[in-house]
Subunit: 224 residues, 2 copies
C-alpha cells in the first residue's frame, strides 16, 4: 500500500518533507489540505486523517503519524533513503538530531511568529500588525538567525559539512518564510545567503515547486 | 571514559535526563551548572563545555552533545537502556518521537513561559508580572494541558500504554513547573493528576531528588 502524504505548501514542515520525498524517489500519494480554509479543523479530517488536526500527516497502511521530524525518522527507518539525508552512524545522527531539536524553540518559533504576524494574519483577517509587534517579532527572529549562523554554519557547503542532509532542507524552508513578510535574511547574513543558494540548487526543481504557491501569493499581494 | 553530564535542576530537560540516567543505572559524572548565576554564559563554559551555552550537555569522550531529546536518542543507541524507555521497534519509537517533537511548541513552550513569568523572572529581578501577562500565559498553558490530556493520555497508566517511557519523564518534569508559579494542573485535570502520580511512583526516589531544589526554593518564598 502506497504511503499517503497530507500537506499544504503554506506549511514549512510540509514543504521540507515534500522535497525530501521527491529527492529520495519515495513513492507516495499526495493529498493537499487547505489550511487557510481550515479543512484540517473538520470532524471528517479528525476522524479520517489525524486527531492532531494539522499537517503534515502520513498514513503508512493503518499507521498514522504527525510531526515532520518524527516522520523523517520513520521514513529513514522504513524506506530507502540515502544515508546522507539522515545518517545511521550514531554521532552523525546525533548532530542532525541536535539541530532538529534545537530549531523548534529557535528558528521555527521565531520565523513562524514573524511569518504569521506579517503575512498569514493580514492575509486571513485583512488587519495589519502594529509596528511595535513587527519590531518585537523581528528582534527575536534576528537573534535566532544569528545563533543559526554562528552555531550551525561553518566552512562546509551545508550545515553538517559538504553533504546535504535533512537539516538543510528543514532549515532552508523555515528561513525562506520571513521574506514573504518583508524581511529576507539574505540581506544581512552573507553566509546564510550562500548556504541557501547551495540548498536551493541541490533541491531543485522540487525546492522551486514547493515554494511556488507562496511566491505566487506574494506576487499577487505586491501587484495589488 | 565515563559520561559527563552538565545540568541544573532548575531546568526541566536536565531533571528528566538525570532521572533517566539514574533509573537506567547509566554510569555518569554529574557537573552542576548554576544557571541563575549565569555560569553557562562564561567564555570558560563556552570553550570547555558547550558552544550552545546552555544545559543539559553531555561529553562522551570528546563528543559533546546538547538538546535533551537528541541526548536521549544517543544514550539509547550507545548505552544499555531498557527498551521500554525508547523502543527500537519502528512504530513504537515513532509514537515516542511524535510526542517528543510535539511537546516543544506546546507543553514545553507554554509551561516554560508561565514558569518564567511567574517564578524565574520575579526570583531574578524582584519584579512581578502584570495580571494581564499572567492571564495570557495561563490561557496558552491551559490550551497545551488540554491538548496533552486529550491527545496523549488514554486508558493506560502511562502515555504510551502501561509501560513507562522517556515521554512520561519528560512530560511530567515539564508539568511540575507551573505549580511553582501558583498553578498546579492537578487541580483541573484529574487524568493528568492520576498519570503524574504513576510517573512519580515509578521514578522515585530520583523524581523527588530532581525536584528537591525547586520545592525548597518554593517553600522559602512561601515562608517569606
Amino acid at each position: 500500500m502506497v504511503l499517503k502524504f497530507y500537506y499544504d505548501f503554506i506549511s514549512q514542515p510540509c514543504r521540507s518533507l515534500y522535497i525530501l520525498l521527491k529527492l529520495t524517489n519515495t513513492p507516495f500519494q499526495a493529498y493537499p489540505v487547505n489550511l487557510l480554509k481550515g479543512e484540517q479543523l473538520s470532524e471528517d479530517f479528525k476522524e479520517k486523517c489525524s486527531k492532531f488536526q494539522k499537517v503534515p500527516v502520513i498514513h503508512d497502511g493503518n499507521f498514522r503519524l504527525t510531526e515532520s521530524v518524527s516522520i523523517l525518522r520513520y521514513l529513514a527507518r522504513e524506506y530507502s533513503i540515502d544515508d546522507h539525508w539522515y545518517p545511521k552512524e550514531s554521532k552523525e545522527q546525533a548532530r542532525i538530531d541536535e539541530f532538529l531539536e534545537w530549531q523548534h524553540l529557535n528558528l521555527r518559533l521565531n520565523c513562524l511568529t514573524f511569518f504569521r504576524t506579517t503575512w498569514i494574519l493580514p492575509l486571513k483577517t485583512g488587519v495589519h500588525p502594529t509596528e511595535e509587534k513587527v519590531s518585537g517579532d523581528k528582534k527575536a527572529l534576528l537573534k535566532s538567525l544569528t545563533d543559526f549562523d554562528q552555531l550551525f554554519l561553518g566552512d562546509g557547503l551545508f550545515i553538517h559539512g559538504n553533504q546535504i542532509s535533512y537539516s538543510d532542507i528543514h532549515a532552508a524552508c523555515e528561513i525562506e518564510q520571513p521574506k514573504f513578510g518583508g524581511y529576507d535574511p539574505r540581506e544581512d547574513y552573507p553566509r546564510i545567503k550562500s548556504w541557501l543558494d547551495n540548498v536551493e540548487k541541490a533541491c531543485n526543481p522540487y525546492y522551486a515547486e514547493a515554494h511556488e504557491f507562496l511566491n505566487k501569493v506574494a506576487k499577487e499581494i505586491e501587484d495589488t
